[in-house]
């Protein structure tokens, strides 16, 4: 449901509920887009020659 | 959800002293509202009847046995309608302008949460596709849509009759309906004239007067659903049946 729908009411119930949903979706979407772009940029800047070891995994022995 | 009071508030009073349990209301309702039969009508957990008859007895041995019937349509609860607030896709809503609780079959996704929330068992799920044996489909009413499998349905207070009455009034250059111009099929058909239907907000209507009868009561009144269907019974044991009472709590009229 978007605010364009005729069933939408401009009151706190709708703003809080749908607002939080859209914020959550936006955070997920932004995270994904950031990762995509960063991966692309990294490839562009030539880091692709030596893909790094996944950092956290290097430290497994420490836990 | 707060209840804003609308102009009209349609309701019903059923006089249980007059009701003989003949079941004409159930049949008329089914015919009026295009209710389908299911393959096995003895499967009472899955049959559909918007106007259900419940038989109650006082539990005493003969010759003191007494029997009464509770015809149970949808109560169209006025306060915080239990089914309305839970419906996820807004397929059921109360029209505050006339108090009728609607059910939109093409909007319903069949999650059955409303059935769980309704304490009156007034909501029915279509477990099968509608079945109209050859020839009977010609007797379907065009004013009520036939339900598909997988949706919930319930008594609509014959809402299409309100629409029909309104069109008639408009044709006669009136905006207001007269008392008795819009009545449900069960009201019209009851041979004992046990059912009265009308606008509870209109103090002059028959139904409003009857609802203030000293022996009038509603089902499960203390839960606070504010049903718009009232019952009248002169029998204390019948009135006691309508709600849950602690021992020694019930006050006879």
């Amino acid at each position: 449901m978007t605010p364009l729908s005729f069933e939408w009411h401009w009151n706190a119930d709708y703003l809080v509920f749908m607002g939080l949903l859209y914020v959550a979706l936006a955070v997920i979407g932004a995270g994904l887009i950031y990762t995509f772009l960063k991966t692309w940029m990294d490839l562009e800047s030539g880091e692709s020659e030596l893909p790094p070891e996944i950092e956290s995994r290097k430290k497994y022995a420490a836990y | 959800m707060k209840a804003t009071e609308g102009k009209y508030k349609y309701g019903m009073v059923i006089n249980l002293d007059k009701c003989t349990g003949c079941g004409t209301c159930t049949v008329a309702c089914a015919a009026e509202n295009n209710l389908s039969v299911i393959r096995d009508e003895t499967d009472k957990q899955r049959t559909i009847s918007w106007m259900q008859l419940f038989k109650v007895t006082n539990g005493k041995p003969f010759p003191d046995t007494e029997v009464s019937y509770f015809p149970r349509p949808c109560m169209h609860c006025h306060n915080h309608t239990p089914c309305v607030s839970v419906c996820p896709p807004t397929a059921t809503k109360m029209d505050y302008n006339n108090g009728i609780v609607s059910q939109i079959y093409t909007r319903c996704i069949g999650c059955r949460y409303c059935q769980a929330a309704c304490p009156y068992q007034a909501r029915y799920f279509n477990w099968w596709d509608g079945h109209f044996p050859k020839g009977t489909e010609r007797y379907l009413s065009p004013e009520v849509s036939v339900r598909m499998r997988g949706v919930v349905e319930k008594c609509s207070f014959c809402h299409h009759r309100l629409m029909r009455a309104k069109e008639q009034a408009y044709a006669e250059d009136r905006r207001e309906l007269e008392d008795g111009e819009y009545i449900t099929a069960c009201t019209e058909v009851c041979p004992a004239e046990a059912i009265t239907f009308g606008d509870l907000n209109d103090p002059d209507s028959k139904v409003a007067k009857l609802s203030k009868h000293p022996q009038a009561f509603r089902l499960l009144e203390r839960i606070g659903t504010e049903p718009k269907v009232y019952y009248i019974s002169s029998k204390d044991w019948v009135r006691r049946m309508a709600d849950n009472y602690h021992p020694n709590e019930f006050q006879p009229v």
Binding site: D13, S56 | R46, P88, P89, L219
Partner: protein, 413 residues
């Protein structure tokens, strides 16, 4: 044959043995597939659900696996947001279990609703006052989060990792996993709660009704609490089962013990609240509805044993067991306690769904009974088969347990 796909330095059974192992689960899936086909093609009349039992075994299963799958969000929260490093050795397993539970539950819900094609109406015509809307929103969004959390594990497969793009993508995802974990925690918190709220708001059903705190009934918080108390225990059970079947140690004791200890404390906290809530409910809501507590526990098989079993036997006992270090450090004690904990939570969901519907509210309405058909069992069991299958495949080809190599040095080769 498929050894090139195995994680580095670990030993896996031969393809033949693995195929044999998957057969029963594939059989369960086939049974479920047939049931699902029948239910979608012929309608829900294939089940024994009725106008009285509008919710039945599927919803019990749904709520149960979602409560048990809560290990994913809670462990994710502890690992990425709070920063408990020792949990890194179990977080992958928790995420996969969570993904299995949630995707299975969503698939099951798709069959459970009468008009699955209209499922999107919940989102497009949302009634924001309905707890079920909140549940649907958060579950679908959280399933997306779980998928995102699952992706880097898949990308760590030895062959996939060779593609620098994918490897880099997985690496970058790992970097910002905290954001997803936090979002997942937020979403999970709300849907675990609204699943409880679903029953608490049914004010016309005194057995389920609870008093409101702000807009949420107390069951909202009780369900969140019980889910995070049971979820980690289910994660422990699953890893212990994997360890037993693979005859290997996969997770260091400190991670398991931390989760077990936490579960014990959370469960006891939950039980205190649950007992208070039950007492308040029995002394306010129930008399207000004109009933006594025992009025609810006299019909059919639903006796007062339910309450005793839920809170006492499968509540207080596992809570105490998990809180005593000697008991939870004993392998048998740990497993029994975790099993009892999970049983108690599933029983709680069962009572809220089935008993609520079975107990008539109108004094003159009769009591009905219900038993699932083979189609209903089929779909429920397919969830089990799907879970075993996905977890087995993940375990075989992905580095689910990062410490496996280190804990089993003899098997290197």
């Amino acid at each position: 044959m498929d050894s090139a796909l195995f994680p580095e330095g670990v030993k896996r059974c031969s393809p033949k043995v693995f195929l044999l192992w998957t057969l029963p689960w594939l059989a369960l899936l086939a049974w479920g597939g047939l049931s699902a086909f029948l239910c979608l093609w012929k309608g829900l009349n294939q089940t024994n659900m009725s106008n009285i039992f509008a919710f039945a075994i599927w919803i019990v299963f749904d709520l149960a696996v979602i409560a048990l799958g809560a290990g994913a969000f809670f462990t994710g929260f502890l690992t990425y947001v709070i920063g408990r490093k020792e949990l890194k050795s179990i977080i992958n397993a928790a995420v996969i279990i969570g993904f299995i539970c949630y995707s299975g539950a969503v698939a099951m819900l798709g069959i459970d609703i009468g008009q699955p094609i209209r499922g999107w109406f919940i989102f497009w015509h949302a009634n924001v006052h309905s707890m079920l809307t909140e549940v649907s929103f958060c579950i679908s969004a959280y399933l997306g989060v779980l998928a995102i959390e699952y992706i880097p594990i898949i990308l760590e497969n030895r062959q996939i990792e060779k593609v620098p793009h994918l490897r880099l993508f997985g690496h970058n995802l790992h970097h910002i996993m905290g954001v997803f974990a936090a979002t997942g925690t937020f979403l999970s918190f709300f849907h675990q709660g609204s699943l409880g709220g679903m029953f608490g708001v049914m004010y016309a059903r005194p057995f389920a009704e609870r008093w409101d705190f702000y807009v949420w009934p107390t069951t909202f918080f009780l369900f969140v609490f019980s889910a995070i108390a049971a979820g980690p225990c289910f994660t422990i059970l699953c890893t212990k089962l994997t360890e037993a079947i693979s005859r290997k140690k996969l997770v260091p004791d400190n991670a398991v013990q931390f989760l077990a200890r936490l579960s014990g404390w959370l469960l006891s906290g939950y039980l205190v609240l649950k007992i208070i809530d039950t007492a308040v409910w029995a002394n306010t809501t129930v008399p207000n509805a004109g009933l006594g507590l025992m009025d609810f526990y006299r019909e059919g098989p639903y006796g007062i044993w339910m309450l005793i079993a839920e809170i006492g036997i499968f509540g207080i006992v596992p809570a105490v067991m998990l809180m005593i270090p000697q008991v939870r450090q004993n392998p048998a004690g740990l497993i029994v306690a975790c099993l009892m904990n999970c049983t108690g939570i599933v029983l709680n969901r069962f009572v809220f769904i089935i008993a609520t519907l079975a107990i008539p509210v109108m004094p003159f309405a009769r009591f009905w009974s219900y038993l699932p058909t083979w189609q209903e069992w089929g779909i429920a069991m397919a969830l089990v088969g799907y879970g075993f299958l996905l977890f087995s495949v993940s375990y075989r080809y992905l580095p689910v347990f990062p410490k496996e190599q280190e804990l089993n040095p003899a098997m290197n080769g």
